[in-house]
């Protein structure tokens, strides 16, 4: 069955590209393919996509593989070959089909070594390291940022716990029962007061975290749309309030926009966490209170200067939570001029976010 073999190679290639294709998806796909008109490109494409891909972020990788596999395959000179195969298919009894579907499903275990993601498969934009990507790739990655922001926003809005809503408000219920002769017809439950989330972001926009700061600024811009109470600050060796500065424009220009419109570059022009933190503390400390969640984006590469960690300690005492997102993989922390370990005691968590996938994972842990 050359077609099924061809499909199998296709599944294999999808897995190589990091798209998780499970056995049950393969089975669905094979079942579906037998039901449709193979000559119809849109139809064929849609059938494969809908059964194999369950997340829009894989679309591009899928499209590439699909085009490589089926563009020439669906060209006119191969049509006849396919048609004869289709007839063959029609002749085969249903049971046969089920068996061969089963076989093809089992015959291709999840990638090599049981993993759905082969080492070479770096095509998913979510998994590309911030450190080494081109501007075009950055633009593609950036497209996913609003999604992340929305998920984060959904997270902050405290989920009503299911058990809570069944807690009986005894006093109200009894009082209301007086009007029905002591029979508690209307039950009242305790409504918990929900806190509005308050977010404060501090973002390093220096050259060493160029790509990451593009992403984090885009994230901040998206967050500003979802939260009512949000303040954003950026720094290199001077700190500035950038709240509302990013409301419009292309996210890829955000960093330039910040550099032009906010005073983030001070006397030296080299990243200075210590000075920036102290300055932040001096000017903006009154803006933090018990309900605030502080998000810091930066690599903590301080050019061998004072850390100013006491500021972070003070911030920690003032606010609800402090989270630090570091674009470097944990292996590079505290190497060279990185002083993340001086700050980490004062954070509720420090996350390594070398790519968007890790960033998303860490946001999920909050």
């Amino acid at each position: 069955m050359p077609v099924l073999q061809y499909l199998q190679a296709f599944f294999e290639e999808l897995r190589q590209q990091g798209i998780p294709v499970t056995t049950s998806q393969v089975r669905d796909c094979c079942q579906a393919v037998l039901l449709i008109d193979w000559m119809h490109k849109d139809c064929f494409y849609s059938t494969l996509f809908t059964t194999l891909v369950k997340d829009y972020s894989y679309k591009e990788a899928f499209d590439q593989v699909f085009n490589r596999f089926f563009e020439e395959y669906l060209a006119p000179h191969t049509l006849q070959r396919l048609e004869s195969l289709e007839k063959q298919n029609a002749v085969r009894s249903k049971e046969d089909t089920a068996v061969s579907n089963y076989e093809i499903g089992m015959g291709s275990p999840m990638g090599k070594g049981g993993s759905s993601q082969a080492p070479g498969g770096q095509k998913n934009p979510l998994e590309q390291d911030f450190g080494r990507i081109s501007e075009a790739e950055l633009a593609r990655i950036e497209a996913f940022v609003p999604l992340l922001a929305r998920r984060l926003a959904a997270k902050f809005v405290k989920k009503r716990k299911r058990n809570e809503q069944h807690k009986l408000d005894f006093r109200r219920t009894i009082r209301a029962s007086l009007s029905t002769g002591g029979v508690p017809v209307n039950l009242f439950t305790v409504q918990k007061h929900r806190e509005k989330p308050v977010v404060l972001t501090i973002c390093d926009v220096s050259g060493s975290v160029m790509n990451f700061s593009c992403i984090s600024l885009a994230l901040i811009a998206s967050l500003e749309r979802f939260f009512q109470h949000i303040e954003s600050y950026a720094f290199i060796d001077e700190v500035a309030d950038i709240t509302g500065l990013l409301l419009s424009g292309n996210p890829l220009n955000f960093r330039g926009h910040v550099l032009r419109n906010a005073r983030v570059i001070g006397a030296s022009g080299y990243t200075n966490y210590g000075y920036s933190l102290e300055e932040f503390h001096k000017r903006f400390k009154h803006r933090m209170h018990r309900k605030t969640t502080v998000l810091i984006f930066g690599d903590a590469r301080n050019n061998w200067q004072e850390s100013g960690k006491w500021v972070l300690q003070d911030i920690k005492n003032r606010v609800k939570k402090v989270y630090w997102f570091n674009p470097e993989p944990a292996a590079l922390w505290n190497t060279g001029d990185s002083i993340i370990n001086q700050y980490s005691p004062y954070c509720d968590a420090v996350f390594a976010c070398p790519n968007l996938l890790e960033l998303e994972k860490s946001l999920a842990k909050i």
Binding site: L35, D37, D42, C43, K54, D55, K59, A154, K159, V185
Partner: protein, 291 residues
């Protein structure tokens, strides 16, 4: 079994324009009897697709609107507590045994069927729409998962109710959170994006038959450009229909700058967005929205 083209035609008659890709997914949903998970930005017609599908099939649409804190008592079933209480009061002097009363108050008369139970218990096949599934919590999603694979609901006091017909299931999601892999695997995946200019023009003309072609084209074109701008909320298809309709009511043959400025409030609903568009229109003196 309908062909892809048939489905397209029928969906068109039901007031929904879809391309071959969408029609294929609908075709497979019917052939493989699988739920369809529809994702995409707000206002691209995720909900409308199931409504149109129910019209095509001539089946009732049962809708479950999800929200934060939705639980089984609002989605599956609930005992009618007030009625039970009144019943107990009413029969309290009739010397009935406890068992008799219990049998009474836990019968179907006192059961409030919520959308999912309604759907399962229905005598005829139904189209089930679970709207904005991403709003519910994981526990509920897990419960739903079981429901979608078994199509039966167990009520401890009554027993198990199994569906006589498998309903057609549509789930929509705005992707505010990642859905569980297990749920995604069970579904056919359909990503709806904003339509192309030509398709939107067709949609406008289908929804508003009196609309002149030239105006439809212009509205579709401008709305498409608006969606490319960074707006707080890009205009949905419903909003572009509203816009075209209000232009028609105003007796406009064409969309010019002045009319656009006056009617902006029908397509953008945030003050920031409106101000931004006004600024661009005044600056560029046209409706090209380049920047």
């Amino acid at each position: 079994m309908d062909s892809i083209q048939d489905i397209r035609d029928k969906m068109f008659q039901a007031g929904y324009i879809c391309d071959d890709k969408v029609a294929t997914v609908l075709f497979l949903a019917e052939a493989l009897r699988k739920p369809v998970l529809v994702e995409g930005p707000a206002g691209v017609g995720k909900t409308a697709i199931s409504q149109a599908f129910s019209r095509v099939k001539g089946l009732p649409l049962i809708r479950l609107q999800c929200y934060e804190g939705l639980d089984e008592s609002k989605a599956l079933y609930e005992w009618n507590y007030k009625r039970q209480l009144l019943h107990i009061q009413a029969v309290s002097n009739q010397n009935l045994s406890v068992q008799e009363i219990e049998e009474d108050i836990f019968s179907e008369t006192f059961l409030l069927a919520r959308p999912l139970l309604k759907c399962i218990a229905s005598e005829t096949p139904t189209v089930m729409l679970i709207d904005e599934i991403d709003k519910v919590d994981f526990e509920f999603e897990a419960m739903l998962l079981e429901l979608l694979s078994e199509f039966q609901i167990t009520i401890p006091e009554i027993g198990t109710i199994a569906a006589t017909h498998h309903p057609y299931v549509f789930l929509t999601s705005n992707t505010t959170r990642e859905l569980s892999e297990a749920l995604k695997r069970r579904c056919l995946y359909l990503y709806l994006d904003f339509p192309s200019k030509e398709m939107e023009q067709q949609i406008l003309m289908l929804k508003i038959p009196q609309l002149p072609e030239q105006l439809a084209e212009k509205v579709a074109q401008v709305v498409r450009r608006l969606r490319k701008l960074e707006l707080k909320k890009p205009p949905s298809i419903a909003e572009s229909i509203d816009w075209a309709e209000s232009l028609l009511w105003l007796g406009k043959e064409d969309l010019d700058m002045e009319t656009a400025l006056k009617t902006l409030s029908t397509i953008v609903k945030y003050r920031e967005d409106q101000e931004k568009l006004e600024r661009i229109i005044y600056r560029e003196r046209d409706l090209n929205f380049r920047g």
